[in-house]
């Protein structure tokens, strides 16, 4: 039996962040329904403050199988907004590279760990599942990621997203990072690739082979800069090796629908 890989589709969050795309709520709901029918495990539907609660209410009414998640910054204010939307999962984006922690946020590692504790605690107290994304993992110190993964596990989190935020990973480096974390910490890995060097698909395939249980994709690979891992291409390339739970006959309709919207 092939290993099961869960597809997380982020067309409605990271995909929509591509400049030039701005979808109406009814369009986003329509795409979410098609993703649900297609067999996507999780739909990352948006971020706090972008759409109001009525959007998530509508999603909860219409989505039959997929889990609905919200992406949030590691900010108590944003997380409180996310909690009100009652998603199945809240994903916290945690910067882990020194360039992001020190240069962008002007904070330090202690602050990162302290904030994770507060944020994960808030979400779990609301009985919402939490996943934590290692932002800019490709340029981060492995020791710090392992230490952070351990902390998350102790707090009750179980899924760590390795985000190649600036899209510089190679397949061998992807394999190395995932294996190193899995060797040291008993967590589940989600892989989130970007296509800046034309390797998002290759890295995602290798990510799945290296032990990631979740792979992030978007329809047409839409997303920031050169985009993310293309859902159809991933299904075509990895479908023989893994049980992806995707009904590939539904993909063309989904692509056509999105094409007409953007």
């Amino acid at each position: 039996m092939n290993k099961k890989i869960r597809i997380v589709d982020t067309t409605l969050r990271d995909g929509e962040q591509r400049p030039g795309i701005a979808m109406k709520i009814e369009d986003k709901v329509k795409i979410a329904q098609l993703l649900d029918e297609c067999g996507v495990y999780e739909i990352e539907a948006g971020a706090p403050g972008i759409e109001g609660g009525e959007y998530y209410q509508e999603l909860r009414r219409r989505i039959k199988h997929s889990k609905i998640s919200i992406w949030s910054r590691m900010s108590m204010g944003d997380l409180k907004k996310a909690v009100i939307c009652k998603p199945d999962i809240i994903h916290i984006g945690v910067p882990v590279s020194y360039v992001q922690i020190y240069s962008k946020l002007k904070k330090n590692k202690v602050w990162v760990h302290k904030s994770i504790k507060e944020c994960v605690g808030l979400i779990l107290a609301e009985n919402i599942q939490v996943t934590v994304g290692f932002e800019d993992a490709s340029r981060a110190d492995e020791g710090f990621m392992i230490e952070t993964a351990r902390q998350i596990k102790e707090l009750g989190g179980n899924v760590i997203r390795i985000a190649d935020t600036v899209g510089v990973l190679t397949p061998s480096r992807t394999n190395h990072i995932i294996q190193e974390i899995l060797k040291k910490v008993d967590v589940e890995i989600e892989f989130h690739g970007h296509n800046d060097l034309g390797m998002a698909l290759a890295n995602s395939i290798v990510g799945a082979k290296s032990g990631a249980r979740y792979i992030d994709c978007t329809i047409f690979g839409v997303g920031e800069r050169s985009g993310n891992c293309d859902l159809r291409e991933f299904v075509e390339a990895a479908g023989k090796q893994f049980d992806l739970g995707i009904d590939r006959t539904k993909i063309p309709v989904m692509e056509k629908t999105l094409e007409e919207m953007i």
């Binding site: 400049p19 030039g20 800069r225 090796q241």
Partner: protein, 321 residues
């Protein structure tokens, strides 16, 4: 030392490129630092006297045909034992076919073409096995792109100790993209770190002129809009320090960061736009109101908003202050 043979000029026959275009392409490649170029017979014929300062490669059916194409540095000859100035080429459609290569052990210079789905198998072991078989000789790896992984395979070939790959601009003819392999090696292995790739914009324009169609706006490395940024978090990060969200400076590949206003914009974007358009910055509340107007208009029109549209919104909002 690694070597990239760019095979774009062997892939454009259907578009009937002109001599000037082919020569211009050669010149651009040289400026980037690539002087190894594969030609098609058509390109060879059209170009006439081949320009100096390059190493040209040509694929011929048999070793004997070599004399019909003088001036070529090396000839790719399919499945043939390498003779003088030739590179023996093997098409591998399946990873299992690698075993056949064992009988070719000892060949001096070969090219392996294909292996599109290698990444779905144990690619690291296969690459090692190929390099072991031909230890002492030269192997040029030319992964094909049916599984959209050719760039990754070419890069992995280099990272595993391989010295040569064949690529093509924008993956034309289903090969690894020259520009992607080049910049990936530049970032990962500091390959030619001081080389300016600014000319890539001109290469893209020339390529689009030859094929008569535009490349996707978000194509890695050369897409016209890959450095457009809208999301508030990213804009804020880039304004603080571009390396927060850009793997390499856009200027390196002849492009620049463009801050676009739309549904995902944040306060920083609005303030930056006011500054760029030399507009007086509204008060704190004004910025927030302006931001909401930007988002609302963006959703209504289903895309980003233009400077003209922003100016109208700015006037409306500031008139109330």
């Amino acid at each position: 030392m690694i070597k990239i043979i760019d095979s774009t000029l062997a892939m454009l026959d259907n578009y009937l490129p002109k001599k000037e275009q082919l020569l211009q392409f050669c010149s651009y490649m040289k400026e980037i630092g690539i002087i190894d170029l594969e030609l098609s017979k058509y390109a060879y014929k059209i170009m006439g006297n081949l320009p100096s300062g390059y190493r040209f490669y040509l694929r011929i059916e048999t070793y004997e045909k070599k004399s019909e194409y003088p001036g070529i540095y090396r000839y790719f000859v399919p499945q043939s034992d390498a003779g003088e100035k030739t590179i023996c080429e093997f098409q591998m459609n399946d990873v299992k076919e690698i075993v056949h290569l064992r009988s070719k052990k000892g060949s001096g210079y070969i090219r392996i073409v294909g292996l599109d789905d290698l990444l779905c198998h144990d690619y690291a072991l296969t690459i090692k096995e190929i390099q072991k078989i031909f230890r002492g000789g030269t192997v040029n790896f030319c992964p094909e792109n049916a599984c959209h992984c050719a760039t990754a395979l070419a890069v992995e070939w280099f990272l595993a100790g391989g010295n040569e790959v064949t690529t093509s601009f924008a993956s034309c003819g289903q090969r690894a993209a020259t520009e992607e392999v080049y910049i990936a090696m530049n970032i990962v292995k500091r390959f030619k770190p001081n080389q300016s790739l600014g000319i890539l914009v001109q290469v893209r324009k020339l390529f689009e002129e030859i094929i008569g169609t535009k490349l996707p706006l978000f194509k890695p490395v050369v897409g016209k809009q890959i450095f457009y940024v809208e999301s508030g978090i990213h804009v804020d990060g880039i304004l603080k320090n571009p390396s927060n969200y850009e793997a390499y400076p856009p200027e390196k590949v002849g492009q620049k960061t463009e801050i676009v206003l739309g549904k995902y914009s944040g306060r920083s974007s609005v303030m930056n736009k006011c500054q760029n358009l030399s507009l007086k910055l509204p008060g704190k509340t004004g910025v927030l109101v302006l931001l909401e107007c930007v988002k609302e208009l963006s959703v209504r029109k289903g895309s980003s908003i233009t400077d003209e549209e922003f100016l109208v919104l700015y006037k409306e909002v500031t008139a109330l202050e």
